[in-house]
């Protein structure tokens, strides 16, 4: 049967006509923020191609190049745009590789939190009763503790449980788990709230009257309609995850030193701050702030764009 193509509203058309796209086009900040984020993502993904040096290839670094200031200062070397650290590693390259680790851990944690949080939120909101009460109690208790603390605890416990040889291999996974587990509550709460609202909407009741089973209703009807706020939370959560990872690495309990993230770099550089070699800390610090700021700006814009009441 031939559909009349002229009156089909494709998904693309819907998006282009939407208020979200309109708001984006007209918000220079959002565009810049997205650009910055994309640049970071791409350089992180293609690190070996983008970075001028590989700072972790022990053969390529030379102690003679250590502690060189950035290129625009006296004694700077054009090979090392932002200077080198005490081991002779190029700061610019370490930042790119560091950002890669930071973003990897950040994204993975967010996805973990999202999956756990959305599932629990859907179940909690839809099932109600005891199940809901239980899940929300657990959430409340966990909310009493800031993410940092939970991440630290999980990390600490893992450190004690995992045999020493496996420490380094598993450290990243433990970290992702720790940050992830500390973040699911926000998703669960929001999704639960939205689910409660949608549950009472008549299209859900219509599906129930047809006879459709709960699982399908959740998947086909409720989930697409609660994803909006989740996207906003996920963006902001990415920023928080990156900060949390950086904090943990700074404190020495994050990623292992062999795969340094931006936080690790800052920690290393901190020791040289007072002796005047400020660039070792400041540039990774700036990179971290710019990345997080860009993501936050995106999240902020997204929240405003999706809120019809603010227009």
């Amino acid at each position: 049967m031939k559909m009349d193509k002229t009156v089909e509203t494709t998904r693309l058309e819907r998006f282009l006509d939407s208020d979200v796209w309109y708001s984006f086009k007209n918000s220079p900040i959002a565009i810049i923020a997205l650009l910055i984020t994309v640049i970071f993502l791409l350089s992180a993904a293609f690190a070996p191609l983008v970075a001028p040096h590989n700072p972790f290839d022990l053969a390529s670094i030379d102690l003679m190049d250590s502690s060189l200031p950035p290129v625009w200062m006296e004694e700077g070397d054009p090979r090392f745009l932002l200077g080198t650290d005490d081991q002779g590693r190029d700061i610019f390259s370490t930042i790119i590789y560091g950002a890669r680790v930071s973003l990897l851990v950040g994204f993975a944690s967010v996805i973990f939190s999202m999956v756990v949080g959305i599932t629990l939120g859907l179940i909690s909101g839809y099932a109600g009763g005891r199940v809901d009460a239980f899940i929300m109690r657990v959430a409340d208790i966990q909310l009493s503790f800031p993410a940092i603390l939970i991440a630290l605890l999980v990390d600490g416990v893992a450190r004690g449980v995992v045999p020493n040889e496996m420490h380094e291999q598993l450290a990243v996974y433990v970290l992702i788990f720790a940050i992830g587990i500390s973040g699911w509550v926000q998703y669960a709460r929001t999704v639960r709230g939205s689910t409660l609202v949608e549950k009472n909407k008549e299209y859900v009741q219509a599906a129930q009257v047809i006879g459709i089973r709960s699982g399908t209703i959740l998947r086909r009807h409720v989930l697409p309609n609660v994803m909006g706020p989740v996207m906003v939370i996920a963006t902001i959560h990415l920023a928080i995850a990156v900060i949390t990872e950086a904090t943990l690495s700074f404190l020495g309990v994050g990623v292992p030193p062999t795969t340094p993230s931006l936080g690790t770099l800052i920690r290393i550089g901190n020791e040289y701050l007072f002796s005047g070699e400020w660039w070792i800390t400041i540039f990774p610090g700036a990179a971290l702030v710019i990345l997080v700021l860009a993501v936050n700006l995106l999240g902020d814009w997204l929240r405003d764009a999706m809120n019809p009441k603010l227009r």
């Binding site: 509203t9 299209y203 599906a207």
Partner: protein, 575 residues
């Protein structure tokens, strides 16, 4: 001199899709001691006028032309501070929802005294005295005591009285009331309208009432202005506009109002506003998909039988089960619905009528009692699979056109969902064919299939809901206030559609409404519910002409007096 003069008012709303003119060249006057009604359907611009007069137009809206005079002085060009001085003191305003109009954290006393003292400068003690007097005038019992209460401690009707007191406390000359009774029950509505009319005459204020409800217009207005999409279409005395309108829009609007005093064969087609697609009516029901032999077994006796149905909700939850307080929403209700008939359930909010519908459709499980469908006891069925057989035969249409469709699904998928779930066709092409057919059948046309719900109006969305409900060729249809959220003219179209479909397909229907005139038009037999109990069951005409139960009599007496409305264009059903 007129109290309020609105001359050639123009209001526009700039938006990203261009500037929308919400009000175009409207001229109105309100005189002392007179009630002017501004009536129109949604989008007419009537509320916008009210907001503009009192200077509370929501940005980005702005007055782009015209002038407003209060007792000869121009007010639309005043500074913000001067306009503020007029608000409350010379122009009072009443909004629709009494629940959200009052500050929940302050007592009534604080809110009243604050306003009285501000405008009349009486000092706290004297202001308090005046406040208590006012509460008495608006009919609040024990005012000296109740003044210390918070808003949530008052019922809806009482709260609206407090709101009226607040609007009147500074002795304004003009009152603007924006849908003042829409959020209230019918019985309370009558009281509030009486109160407003009384106060208006006593104090000789001018009142501007904005509403979509013809009953309110017939009840308390002296003159009426009819608005349509920003234009002032007609104006005159209430008797003239209602009884002998000139403009075609007004004529069709009046004819679309459901009448309590006569039963019509059909509502006259209101094509001024939304043109309906031509419905394909040339099909033979016995060979058409909707009428083909289904696997439903034949039924002797009533289609639906309900016996001693009880439903309880938790009113106050407690840690221990014994301390929980339960609220009985449905209290031993019994009735039956015969094959092919339209049975109406009528009652005010909280009467339990919707709860009964939800129990029959399986959304709620009754606390006790039984439901029979064609002789089979539904309440005994445990397995979902068994229930599916019955679900195919029984479908439901809901009240709110905006939340009864999943905004993220295409119309095609929405209507096809039940067909696909019950696996009623062999392949996708067949399903699509049936859906297209259904869409034509309900007057939407095939092109609707690939669109999304937000592209349609309220009335059109109800048609999609109806198509979805018919998809499984049900025998029994539950309609839960299907037109309560629609404009009067659209309501007429949808009710006609439902009537036609019921006749064509021989559907048995349970029709729920709080609107007695609508019940009279649609139903063969009626059950009246009050606070969870079935008070009376009778044939429709018998119920309306000779009601037996005192509550029914009371309800009927509270129906809006629409006898002033013109009967032209109506096809009355002969006995």
């Amino acid at each position: 001199m007129n109290l309020l003069d609105i001359n050639n008012l123009e209001i526009e709303f700039p938006s990203r899709r261009g500037t929308v003119k919400a009000v175009k060249d409207v001229t109105l006057t309100v005189r002392r001691g007179e009630v002017l009604g501004v009536v129109g359907e949604s989008g007419a611009g009537k509320s916008t006028i009210g907001n503009a007069v009192i200077g509370l137009l929501e940005p980005p809206g702005r007055v782009s032309g015209g002038k407003v005079y209060l007792k000869g002085e121009q007010i639309n060009n005043l500074s913000l501070e001067n306009m503020r001085k007029i608000r409350g003191r010379r122009i009072g305003m009443i909004f629709q929802d009494p629940l959200t109009s009052l500050d929940p954290l302050q007592t009534i006393e604080q809110q009243l005294v604050e306003t009285i003292d501000l405008h009349l400068k009486l000092g706290e003690a004297k202001s308090r005295e005046r406040a208590i007097e006012l509460l008495e005038q608006v009919g609040i019992p024990n005012p000296a005591e109740r003044i210390k209460h918070y808003p949530h401690q008052f019922s809806g009707g009482m709260r609206q009285r407090v709101v009226i007191a607040l609007a009147l406390c500074a002795e304004p000359e003009v009152i603007i009331a924006d849908e003042p009774t829409t959020a209230l029950d019918v019985s309370i509505q009558a009281q509030i309208l009486d109160l407003m009319r009384k106060l208006c005459k006593e104090r000789q204020v001018g009142m501007l009432i904005i509403t979509h409800d013809m009953g309110v217009i017939a009840d308390i207005t002296d003159r009426v202005a009819v608005m349509y999409r920003g234009d002032l279409v007609e104006e005159g005395t209430t008797a003239k506009i209602l009884g002998d309108p000139d403009h075609p829009y007004t004529k069709s609007l009046i004819s679309a109002v459901p009448r309590p005093d006569v039963r019509l064969k059909r509502f006259p087609m209101v094509n001024y506003i939304e043109k309906e697609e031509d419905r394909k009516k040339d099909f033979d029901i016995s060979t058409h998909w909707l009428g083909k032999a289904r696997d439903f077994k034949a039924v002797d006796g009533p289609m639906i039988e309900v016996k001693d149905l009880v439903m309880k909700f938790v009113a106050k939850s407690a840690f221990f089960k014994k301390n929980q307080k339960m609220f009985t929403a449905v209290d031993n209700v019994s009735f039956d619905v015969k094959q092919g008939e339209v049975f109406g359930l009528v009652g005010e909010s909280g009467s339990g009528k919707s709860t009964v519908a939800r129990m029959i459709s399986g959304l709620y499980t009754p606390a006790s009692g039984s439901i029979f469908f064609g002789g089979d006891e539904l309440t005994k069925i445990k397995s979902q699979k068994e229930m599916d057989y019955y679900r195919r035969q029984m479908q439901m249409i809901f009240q709110d056109p905006f939340s009864s469709l999943n905004g993220r699904m295409r119309v095609l998928d929405i209507v096809a969902e039940p067909i696909r779930f019950h696996k009623m066709t062999k392949n996708n092409a067949e399903t699509e064919g049936i859906v297209m057919d259904l869409l034509e059948h309900v007057g939407l046309g095939r092109q609707a299939a690939l669109r999304y719900p937000h592209e349609f109006s309220g009335g059109q969305r109800q048609r999609i809901s109806i198509a979805r409900a018919l998809a499984t060729r049900p025998r029994f249809l539950i309609c839960d206030e299907p037109t309560s959220a629609l404009d009067v003219s659209i309501q007429a179209q949808i009710l006609n559609l439902l009537k036609d479909l019921q006749e064509e397909l021989g559907l048995t229907m349970l029709f729920i409404s709080h609107d007695l005139p609508v019940i009279r038009q649609m139903c063969d037999r009626v059950g009246v519910m009050k606070m969870g109990q079935m008070v009376e069951v009778a044939e429709t005409e018998a119920l309306f002409k000779t009601p037996q139960a005192p509550y029914t009599q009371e309800l009927l007496s509270l129906m809006p007096k629409l006898d002033k409305l013109s009967h032209s264009g109506l096809e009355v059903e002969q006995e």
